[in-house]
Each structure stands twice: as C-alpha cells, then as structure tokens.
C-alpha cells in the first residue's frame, strides 16, 4: 500500500539532509515530488554518491526538479507553476529550506537578522500564501484540499544558547503554522509543523567525523547529553514524520507541532 499514490508534493531544500530524505520517502510512497533547491539538486548528495534527482529516479520514483530560491518571489511562482503543471493540483507543500546558525543578541548584526528572517520565515510565509491560495481552488480528497508541513525546530520551543535569529524564525514558523491551521481548516487546508531535535545529516561541522569515525565534538557531546534516546536523529526520522502528516492517516491533525527529537524537549 503506497500512502501518497497519485499525489503531488513539493519539498523545498531537497538537495540534501532532511529535504532529501523527505523527497525520497514521498517518492517511494508514490508521490510525484517537485523537488526544489538553490543549485545543488543535480549534484552529488551529502552521501557523496548521487544527486537527489538521480537517487529518486534510480529507485523508480517520480521527481520534477526545480532549481529555485525560495527567498525570490518570482521563484515561488515558478515552483507553484511546476507543481500545478504535473497534474493540475498540489496536495502537499513541505517548507523545509532553511539554514541554521547565528549568535547571541549583542553579536547579531542587522544583516544576520535579516538573513535568517528572510530565508527561514518570510520565505515560508510567501510559499504558504501562494500555495494555500492555489489549494483552495482544488477539489477535496478525503476532506482535504491541501496540506502544509513546515519545518520548525526544537529551538523554536526551547532556547539553548546562541542562535537568536534562527530560534526566533523557528518560533515564528511554528506559530504561523498554527494560525494557518485555524484560519483555513474550514476550507479544507491542514497545516502542521515538525520540530526536529538534533538530526545528524552529515552536512554540519563535526557530523561527518561523528558518522564516519565516532568522533564527538563539543556540539555533538551537548546533543548526546540532551537527547535521552539511545541515538541521535537521522534524516529518515523526519521523513517518517512528514509522511504521517502528508498522508490520509492524519486528516484530523492540524495546528500540531510534532517533536521528533529523541526526547530533547521532554528532558
């Protein structure tokens, strides 16, 4: 049984990490995946072997690559057009593109603040605005016209030190998701957020060394100490959560924040 057979799903930030895992899982579950990223979608993936596009095609999945920058409004229109061009509707939007980093208040320049706000929050707002408008024009399937899945973070719920602008954007994403859920539920739109904990993608400093040789740097040590579960997260853990929220199994879940963090926020 494929859970997304015949559905069209847009995944931003699909070249690597969480987005790549989500795109791969959705394609394996029968969706046509409109995969977006700024430039590296066709290049070798984070595992060093194969691009997201080649990977999904090799596995027999349907993928429509769109090289696009979600901070560019013209590109947002292009992503939507590509999605609708597939079969005239778009069932799922996963706003995953974003960047982690930053510093504490007194070290945050206007440029840093604006960078994170634009990429992590304003782009999600624009994507949601364009896609919800399009979703409202399409027929319901199982009572749902369209689904929004926004990538929050445990840093939008808790406040480990030193990522002021990033944390503010993720808290913003989480609450914007709730507001969309309430405002458009009656029109058949479902909106939920995922709050990942420490997921080892191999793309951040020190992660490659941890995965390959078990070397534990300061950041990884902190994550291990804060994560009660017996391992840190994998991109596929987030793909599983995204699949649940994209599937007909969750048509009564809206405005939820699904923490996938090995117990970090509970601990």
């Amino acid at each position: 049984m494929k859970r997304l057979q015949g559905r069209t799903a847009v995944v931003t930030g699909a070249a690597a990490g969480l987005g790549r895992a989500i795109a791969r899982r959705f394609a394996a579950e029968g969706a046509t995946v409109v995969a977006c990223d700024i430039n590296s979608l066709l290049e070798p993936g984070s595992d060093g072997t194969i691009s997201t596009v080649d990977l999904i095609r090799a596995e027999g999945g349907q993928i429509v690559p769109v090289i696009a920058d979600v901070t560019n409004t013209a590109d947002v229109d292009r992503i939507l057009a590509a999605a609708l061009d597939d079969n005239g509707r778009v069932d799922v939007l996963v706003n995953n593109a974003g960047k982690f980093g930053g510093s504490s208040l007194l070290d945050v320049s206007d440029d840093e603040w604006n960078f994170y706000l634009t990429l992590n929050l304003t782009s999600v707002f624009r994507m949601c605005r364009s896609f919800v408008a399009a979703m409202l024009e399409q027929a319901e399937i199982e009572g749902v016209r369209g689904r929004i899945i926004n990538m929050g973070s445990q840093l939008g719920l808790t406040a480990p030190p030193g990522a002021l602008a990033y944390a503010a954007t993720k808290a913003g994403v989480i609450h914007m998701t709730r507001q969309i859920a309430v405002d458009y539920a009656r029109s058949g739109i479902i909106a939920n957020a995922i709050a990942p904990g420490r997921i080892i993608t191999g793309d951040h400093p020190g992660e490659h060394e941890y995965l390959e040789r078990g070397e534990i740097d300061v950041a990884t040590r902190f994550s291990l100490a804060r994560t009660p579960f017996s391992r840190l997260g994998r991109p596929d853990d987030i793909a599983g959560a995204a699949l649940y929220l994209a599937s007909d199994d969750s048509t009564f879940v809206s405005g939820a924040v699904l923490s996938v963090d090995g117990g970090w926020t509970a601990y």
């Binding site: 859920a181 309430v182 699904l258 090995g262 601990y267």
Partner: protein, 259 residues
C-alpha cells in the same frame, strides 16, 4: 517497497480494546501485521467479540485477557501472557480509561481515587510491567491515551479525569528520559472530541448533540473518529516514529488552538 508504517511481526498489548479508540487501534494494528493481546472489562458492557472477529479476519493472532487495570497483579500477568504466547513485547498501549461526571464539591474521595486508579495508575502499571522485557530487547514503544482535557483545556465537572490525563503527560516525559537509553520510546496521544461510546454518553460526556455541535464549531469540520487516533498510534509504533519520544501528539482537529 513495504509500507512505511508496517507492523509485521510486532507484538502489541492494547488495554480497553473492546470499544472506541482501543478497538479501532486493534483493527488497524491487525491490518498492519501485528499480533495482539487485547484487554476488556466485562463489567463495562462492551462486547469484544466483534473486535476479535475483525482482527482474526485481518490475519492477526490475538489473545484476549479480561482484566481490570486497577489490579497490579492482573496487569503484570498481562505482560507475562504476551511474552508466553508471542515470545516478546514490542508495543504497549495504555488506553483503558473512565470518565464519570462529578462536580468538584460533591466529588467523593472514592470518585477521585477510582478515576485516578484507572486513568493514571493503570497506565503506570502497564508501563512498569513492560519495561523489563523491552529493556532486555533494547527496544520498545510505550504509548498512552491522554486527552486535550487537563493538558490543554478544562472539562467542567471532570477535575479528577483532567488531573489523571495531565498526570499521564508528566509521567510520559519523565519516563522517556529514563528509558530512552534502553531504546524505548514513550509517547502520549491527546485526542480531542472523538466519536466513541464514552463521548456519546449523554450523562457523563457530550452525547450525540454535543458531538454534532463540536463538529460545527471546531476548525476542522468534523469530530474525530476512533481510527484517527489509531492511525496516530500506528505511526508512533512503527519504525517511522522511532525518534519521537516524550511527546504528546495532539489529534484534535485544531480545536484547542482557538481556546
């Protein structure tokens, strides 16, 4: 490729399986390939026969144990039954609960204690009994049915129920931290208004009219069905939910967001 939420070969205990959420979860888990140990309480008046017939038709092996979750010995025996029959225990769902209306000033101590004994201590009993075999296996899923009541909203004349359901969430968080290193996840599902026999109870809950009013008022234009909660349990019990722990998954149609 196999189903992402497949449960083939898993052994699951589900308490309160003769009606509502427990029955729907049993049916869904059977279709997903799990072997089941189901509990019912004859005094409740729900007949588990139809559930057993459905899960058997779906191809599941099933063992039914009549028990009251207020009995520690019975709950310990339940886990023993699962191990004896199926050789292991992968998933334990503490779902059995009661909701009896009782205005606070008129609430007898027995009312309070009885509700806590079933709704909170019953969860503790199943979780405690399940930890040893799950720890030995290095994996396991402990799941409990909490509620939006007590955790996110009030329910008039149900303070004992609210206290018990909020207590579940505190226990889930702390236990997640404690047994996480052993590879065990611990989560709660918080249903909103679900069309179950309990909610249809005109005296102790909303009744049909109240359910229909909720469907008109809440963001998503329907009340939940038991299978909405069963689906949440399937995700959390499957490999796809393996890094979720200490979490309360709210399945309420967005209702508590506006409160």
């Amino acid at each position: 490729m196999s189903d992402s939420f497949d449960l083939t070969g898993r052994v699951a205990i589900i308490t309160g399986a003769s009606s509502g959420i427990g029955a729907a979860t049993a049916r869904r888990f059977a279709k997903a390939g799990a072997s089941l140990v189901l509990t019912d309480l004859a005094a409740d008046g729900h007949d588990i026969t139809a559930v057993v017939a459905d899960v058997t038709t779906a191809g599941a092996q099933v063992e039914v144990v009549g028990l009251d979750v207020r009995s520690t010995a019975a709950v310990n025996g339940l886990v023993d039954t699962a191990i004896r029959r199926f050789g292991k225990l992968d998933i334990a769902i503490a779902n059995a609960a009661i909701a009896r209306i009782a205005p606070f000033g008129e609430m007898a101590e027995t009312d309070f204690q009885n509700t806590l004994d079933v709704d909170l201590t019953g969860v503790w009993r199943l979780f405690r009994a399940s930890i040893a075999p799950m720890s030995a296996a290095g994996s396991g899923r402990l799941l409990a049915t909490t509620s939006t009541v007590g955790t996110l909203e009030a329910w008039h004349a149900h303070a004992h129920y609210a206290a018990a359901k909020a207590g579940i969430v505190g226990m889930v968080r702390s236990l997640a931290a404690e047994v996480g290193p052993a590879g065990i996840t611990v989560n709660a599902v918080a249903p909103g208004i679900i069309r179950t026999p309990q909610t249809l109870d005109q005296i102790n809950s909303l009744g049909e009219d109240g359910i229909n009013a909720t469907a008109r008022e809440q963001p998503i234009r329907r009340v939940g069905e038991p299978d909405d909660i069963a689906a949440a349990y399937q995700y959390l019990a499957s490999d796809a939910g393996g890094f979720v722990t200490g979490h309360m998954l709210v399945v309420d149609g967005g209702r508590t967001l506006t409160r």
